[in-house]
């Protein structure tokens, strides 16, 4: 996945349906963000997601999708290894459509990165864990 296709795929999700924001992180690294939030808010949200993932790990639990509905909007959170993808959308009914598109992107991107790291000799052989 080239930087252009990476940005293009995320931009397509960002502009699908009632989606109004997308954040992608890998651990503490912010890979992409297009939201109405200020940068410090995005950083705080990423830290909070880290805390949530850490909590679940301590409890030996591994949810891979969380959805929170608020009066002002809905949040879809996908967890895949070190990757966390957050999609903000207005229409709660769109959640499954948004999740399918986002998960397809995330799986492709994660596998692509693993393959590159393996080819570069800096990672273990890619295992399709998804």
């Amino acid at each position: 996945m080239t930087p252009e296709t990476f940005a293009s795929a995320l931009s397509a999700i960002r502009h699908a349906g009632s989606v109004y924001g997308v954040i992608l992180t890998r651990g503490h690294e912010l890979l992409f963000q297009d939201t109405p939030l200020a940068a410090d808010r995005v950083a705080e949200l990423a830290t909070t997601l880290d805390d949530i993932v850490y909590y679940f790990e301590q409890e030996k639990r591994s949810p891979d999708q969380l959805v929170f509905g608020y009066d002002g909007g809905n949040l879809l959170i996908l967890l895949l290894g070190d990757f966390r993808m957050v999609v903000f959308h207005h229409q709660a009914d769109e959640v499954d459509f948004v999740a399918r598109a986002s998960r397809a992107f995330l799986k492709d991107h994660a596998m692509d990165l693993l393959a590159h790291e393996w080819a570069a000799g800096s990672g273990s052989a890619p295992v399709p864990a998804v």
Partner: protein, 123 residues
């Protein structure tokens, strides 16, 4: 919110309801209000719901705080082949709202899951 667990008085004995729900992969519904959770599928299952409810509420509040969105309406998760979550009952007292939720042993579309919880609230 769910500090104690009660069995619904009309629940069948010895988790028959749980066995049937698991076999048919249908949602097991629960209610929670004023610190206690109630379900028809046994104290262990109701306890799982109560634990999930507390965790999801806490997560939703933490995330919402960062976004300036404090009024949580619902939360749902997928974990393995399980779907679980809750929705606040919009007809209950806003100062002390009731919650209804469910757990089901399949990855149910989240829209359908939330609709089933709303149908349960209105039943």
């Amino acid at each position: 919110m769910a500090g104690s667990i009660e069995m619904d008085a009309s629940a069948p004995p010895v988790n028959e309801a749980l066995a049937e729900a698991l076999k048919s992969r249908q949602p097991r519904f629960f209610r929670a209000s004023r610190g206690s959770a109630k379900g028809r599928t046994g104290p262990e299952d109701t306890g799982r719901f109560a634990e999930n409810l507390m965790i999801l509420q806490e997560c939703a509040l933490l995330v919402g705080e960062k976004l300036g969105m404090s009024a949580v309406a619902h939360a749902v998760y997928y974990e393995g082949d399980e779907t679980g979550g809750f929705s606040f009952d919009p007809n209950s007292n806003p100062q002390n709202p009731d919650v209804a939720g469910a757990i089901v042993n399949r990855r149910m579309p989240m829209r359908d899951f939330l609709q089933s919880v709303r149908d349960f609230i209105n039943s």
